[in-house]
Point group: D2
Chain length 139, copies 4
């Protein structure tokens, strides 16, 4: 198992909210993560479509897994999300996080969320501060 997978698994094991969302990590590489979840009734807002916090939450988890996969602990400093299509109960969302830029202290990721028909539903951009603490994972 790669280091990226081991770190993501260690993070996920303690990540109660990602578990509540029902997130399933499909792929993990250094700087890259694909994660999936299904929208439930309790995740909807007053318009009976998925609350913005749900697609944000999925994206933010994929962002966290991707940005920590380098081996250094990374903390979110700024994120933005555009909700570009509505998400219904039962929709299966897949978030793909890609590293756009990596420097010693700062890294930037784009996360694209699509539904089961491959239609984009959200665009997320996130910036992390890379701390000097390493993940201690046996390789």
């Amino acid at each position: 198992m790669s280091k990226a997978w081991k770190i993501a698994e260690a993070m996920y094991a303690n990540d109660s909210y990602s578990q509540w969302l029902g997130i399933d990590i499909l792929e993990m590489e250094t700087g890259y993560c694909v994660a999936k979840m299904t929208v439930r009734e309790e995740m909807t807002n007053g318009f009976k479509i998925a609350h913005g916090g749900i697609t944000y939450g999925l994206s933010d988890s994929a962002f966290a897994f991707a940005s920590n996969s380098q081996g250094r602990k990374a903390v979110s400093v700024e994120t933005s999300i555009s909700h570009i299509a509505k998400v219904d109960i039962g929709d299966v969302l897949t978030a793909t996080a890609k590293e756009e830029s990596l420097s010693n202290k700062i890294a930037v990721y784009n996360i694209t969320v699509v539904n089961q028909n491959g239609e984009k539903v959200a665009l997320f951009k996130g910036t992390v501060y890379r701390t000097s603490k390493d993940w201690e994972i046996a390789e």
Copy 2:
């Protein structure tokens, strides 16, 4: 009861996710909302602090209530959030949404989230597209 309160109540009554978050609306005025919630264990991430999706979700709800309070249905087009201090289990978060700008089609809101000690934990900025559909609320 003001129209702003009636719209927010109508939205909240169907908003399963805001209910799951345990959001309590404290104040509602036109273009303004104050909402509160308490962080539970199931809302935490792999670092055992509140997941970014939680403060985003609270902010996004306050943003939705404030931006719909004008009487026209408003949909989020772009939001950003900076997580500026960690949030622990048991922390009580209060989000205050203020209208920064309002035009016929577009409006912008700033939402500031503080904890029980008055410390800022997140800064959210959100833009809505104001549809031509009105909330039908008996006044």
Copy 3:
């Protein structure tokens, strides 16, 4: 000449600031624009590297050309930019604007700016409101 090119040319002909920047439009397709410029001494900030307003300005122009190329007048509602590498005097910047999402009223674009070595220097995301006014361009 395609409609996208004609609209971009009509915009550029009146766009004094894009001319001051020395922007050269290299490619135009519907929802897509590639634009180039060279950084001059008068474009630098107190650190003697390109001012953030310069890479923003180039990106914003490519964003405007791409988002108006559909034939409807589009106005910027929210933009963000990450300056991820320093830009020096003499650097040649190329901005590529791609449409990420298009609906009746709202569209989203990502603009990536690279230098003459192909290194990314800025990541820009922009959202427009699409008005109901068309560009009147003879086809």
Copy 4:
């Protein structure tokens, strides 16, 4: 003269682009800056209103002066701007930068830009990474 003023003056003296914009710094305090400029014809876009790069440039300069005023060199990591009202030739713009949050490594600022009638024309949010290098300014 305060340290905040001395740093801003040192930055401005080398800042060719802020000089080209005609920026005048009106107030400087630690974490706070007010800066003014007048829009000229060469700053307009294809709609003959101020190009987005101009209000961005003014905001970004006020952001830079405010975020460096603490005495540590600060670099922009992510910025966003909403252009909420059009800006015409001859308009006098005033940007006010306020520190919203300050930690050891990261700080966040909101910059509000108003015209000569006190109408808001742009809302800017910026995040800096605070380096470990100090400004060497005789006090």
